[in-house]
Every structure is written in structure tokens, then in C-alpha cells.
């Protein structure tokens, strides 16, 4: 039987932990609100952009711009988006599992796979297992700005043009609601028709037929500006999705932890009181017994 003192210590420790998880939950909730607003605001623009680009990819001559090329996919790259911090439930675990699975699938088909990683957690995981990592970005989620997206988008477009990879997939958590995230595998390079993206713009049916676009100013100039921008916007959206999802996941995880701590405290306190009472009763009986014996 544990001593009363050690029980008291245990209760105090649980209470401390509970305080911390509660505070973390509050912080996550505050951050969630902000990042949720950001992603909800950024989504329409990004989706429209993707719609335009996928429309465009059906009509434009693919060789007309280096970023629109479609090469036989031999070299695959996977961009894995995890968080920088832990204590957010299955957030990173789900991503890592899905990516490993995906890598194995690709390797089974005889494709060479490289990884690019965003977020400290994913980097630590894949580095420990010495997977081939091409590029990594860490510590960007604390202060997420569009600059980061420009940086990442720029790196990706540059390497696609250089031929470092032929296809790029992104694995990330999509923000569904404050308590729900969804692991998404999305193809970013090369740009494909809308149907393959999962999103279904309304005009796809009609746009399958018809001539090519008129461009204003000329085609090259316009594509030069528009296509890189598309990738920046998509990178930005993915980062925002992941950030919002992370805070949501953390909030849920910390809420659960706080509740579990509460239950534990209740249980141990009950046990503590029972033990204490038992000791008192025993002492009383001793005294009564002693008094009896003296008579």
C-alpha cells in the first residue's frame, strides 16, 4: 500500500499536469481561431487559381512553358507537411504513416522517391530512418507568412524545371473543422485536369471541347507570371491548412488530456481518502483496545 505522503505527491503532480494541459488547450484555441480565419479566407482564391490552371492545362500546348511540361514520371518527390511541435495527438503520426505507405507504393513500382519535408517532427522522423531527403524547411509555423510560400514555391518550381523530379505529391493535413483533420495526398506537379485534383469546378464538362485561349498580353508573358504564382498560392494554402489543422489537433488532444487528468485525480483522491480513513479507524481501534485492556 502506498504511503499517504506519496499519494499526496501524486495528486499534486496530476494537478500540475492538468494545469499545463489546460493552458495549452487555451493557447491552441486562441491560435486556432486566427489560423482558421486565415485558411478560410485564403481558400477561395487558391481554389479558383487551381481551377483556372487546370482548365488551362487542358487547352494549352504543354511544351509552351517549362512549368507545364508533362514528363514520364520516373522520379517522384513527396512533400511531407508536419508540425514543428508535438503534443497534438495523431497529427504527425497520421502524416508519417501515410507518407511511408505512399513511398513504399512508389518504390514497388520501381520509381525513385525523394522527400522534401516541412516541419521539425517529420524531419526528425525521416532523418532518424535515413530516408533520402532533398530539402527541408523547419520552424516556419511559428510565424507563417507569404514569404515562406514564395520560398517553397520557388524551390519546387526551380527543381521541377531542372528535372530533379517529374512528379510531386504533397501529403498534408487538411483543416476540416476544429476537431477534424483529414490527411490529403495531392498532386502538385505536373498540373493536371480538374477531375484528377479531386475538386470539381462546374465548367469542366463544357471546357473539354473548344478552342484554345486568347491571351492578353501574349501567352509567354502571361504564363510566366501566372504559373509560378499558382505554385506559391498553393504552397501558401497548404501551409495554412496544416497550421490550422495542427492547432485544432492540439486543442482536441489537450482537451482529452485535461479530462483524463481530472479523472485520475478523482480516482487517486478517493483512494487517498479511503486509506486515510482506514488508518484513523485502525488507530481508534487500537486506542479503544488499549483502554479495554486496562480495565
Amino acid at each position: 500500500m502506498p504511503s499517504l505522503q506519496s499519494l499526496r505527491r501524486k495528486i499534486a503532480a496530476f494537478k500540475n499536469t492538468q494545469k499545463i494541459t489546460k493552458a495549452m488547450k487555451m493557447v491552441a484555441a486562441a491560435k486556432l481561431k486566427r489560423s482558421q480565419d486565415r485558411i478560410l479566407a485564403a481558400r477561395p482564391y487558391a481554389h479558383k487559381m487551381r481551377g483556372v490552371l487546370s482548365n488551362l492545362s487542358q487547352r494549352v500546348n504543354r511544351t509552351s512553358h517549362p512549368l507545364l511540361q508533362k514528363r514520364e514520371g520516373k522520379k517522384i518527390e513527396i512533400l511531407v507537411v508536419t508540425s514543428d511541435r508535438g503534443l497534438c495527438g495523431g497529427f504527425n503520426g497520421n502524416i508519417v504513416r501515410k507518407s511511408s505507405e505512399f513511398v513504399r507504393q512508389c518504390e514497388a513500382q520501381g520509381l525513385s522517391v525523394n522527400l522534401s519535408l516541412i516541419g521539425r517532427k517529420g524531419r526528425d522522423y525521416f532523418r532518424r530512418r535515413s530516408w533520402p531527403i532533398r530539402q527541408e524547411w523547419t520552424g516556419i509555423f511559428d510565424k507563417l507568412t507569404f514569404e515562406h510560400a514564395i520560398d517553397i514555391g520557388g524551390d519546387l518550381t526551380e527543381n521541377f524545371v531542372k528535372g530533379t523530379f517529374d512528379e510531386l505529391y504533397v501529403v498534408y493535413n487538411e483543416f476540416k473543422s476544429a476537431i477534424q483533420q483529414r490527411v490529403i495526398v495531392e498532386k502538385l506537379f505536373p498540373i493536371d485536369a480538374a477531375a484528377e485534383f479531386g475538386a470539381a469546378p462546374s465548367a469542366t464538362g463544357q471546357s473539354a471541347v473548344g478552342g484554345s485561349y486568347l491571351y492578353e498580353p501574349d501567352e509567354g508573358e502571361l504564363l510566366n507570371a501566372l504559373v509560378p504564382k499558382h505554385f506559391q498560392i498553393q504552397a501558401y494554402r497548404i501551409l495554412l491548412e496544416s497550421a490550422a489543422a495542427e492547432h485544432g489537433a492540439r486543442m482536441a488532444a489537450m482537451d482529452g488530456a485535461t479530462r483524463n487528468a481530472g479523472q485520475l485525480i478523482k480516482k487517486v483522491t478517493l483512494y487517498y481518502n479511503k486509506t486515510r480513513q482506514a488508518a484513523i479507524t485502525k488507530e481508534l481501534m487500537d486506542i479503544v483496545g488499549g483502554a479495554e485492556a486496562l480495565k
Binding site: A42, P44, Y45, K48, V52, N55, Q206, S207, G211, L226
Partner: protein
């Protein structure tokens, strides 16, 4: 009017407008262009300017500061860096911005600064113009 065309305006901040309209006139970088339902496919960049669209015989105005427009027969998608509906522009602030930009332009400075001041003046004037127009049509 035969058909309608769906006009959608998005900015990085939000979906500003999604509406069936009769006609759109947009500030293309090579000059304004009008779009009626059934327009052929067009992809154009936009400059600083005024976007007009007509619904039920009333024109509505919107300021556009750079961006792109994709036109398909049934739909116009405008992706603007910054866009504001005329009704949302604060006339007083727009007026202030015009004055501030004019001062900056007069103050002179490095060529890059002057260029910047010119652009902000152009932006400010445009917003002012559009805001005034909305006011007028509101009173009429």
C-alpha cells in the same frame, strides 16, 4: 438579354463576389475589354482599374488592383491582388489617400520612391473615383 454569365471575384483575403450578371467590363492590361455571355476563352492580366458589371440594367463598380481574369463562355473568374466593391470604399479615407500620395509625389526623392508614389496616387484616385460613382448612383 439572352443569357447570363457568372462573375466571380476572389482576392487572397476572400471571395468577394459570385453572381450571375449580364455583362462585365474589365480593365485588361492591354486595354479594357467587355465580356458578354458566350465569350470565347480568354486569359488576361489586369492592371489598376475599374471593373464594371451589369445586373438588371444597373451597373455596379469595383476597383481592381492587378490580377488575372479567366473568361470562359459561361463564367468570368477574376483573381485580383486587391479588389473592393464601390459600396465598401470609404470616401473620406480615399480622399485622404489621394492627398497623401500627391504630397509624396511632390516631395520627390529617389526614382523608385517617385514610382511608388505614382502608383499609390493612381490607386487612390481610382478608389476615389469609384467611391464617388457609387454615391451618385445611390442617390439617383
Amino acid at each position: 438579354m439572352a443569357g447570363k454569365i457568372l462573375l466571380e471575384v476572389v482576392t487572397p483575403e476572400k471571395l468577394l463576389l459570385s453572381q450571375e450578371v449580364d455583362e462585365v467590363i474589365a480593365p485588361g492590361s492591354e486595354g479594357e475589354f467587355g465580356v458578354l455571355p458566350g465569350h470565347c476563352h480568354l486569359l488576361s492580366s489586369l492592371r489598376i482599374g475599374e471593373l464594371r458589371y451589369k445586373t438588371q440594367d444597373a451597373w455596379h463598380y469595383m476597383s481592381i488592383l492587378w490580377g488575372y481574369a479567366e473568361v470562359t463562355p459561361a463564367k468570368v473568374t477574376v483573381m485580383a491582388e486587391i479588389a473592393e466593391k464601390a459600396e465598401d470604399i470609404d470616401v473620406g479615407r480615399a480622399q485622404q489617400a489621394v492627398e497623401k500620395a500627391e504630397q509624396r509625389l511632390q516631395a520627390g526623392g529617389l526614382p523608385s520612391e517617385v514610382k511608388e508614389a505614382q502608383i499609390s496616387l493612381e490607386k487612390a484616385r481610382l478608389r476615389k473615383k469609384i467611391a464617388d460613382r457609387a454615391k451618385k448612383s445611390g442617390h439617383a
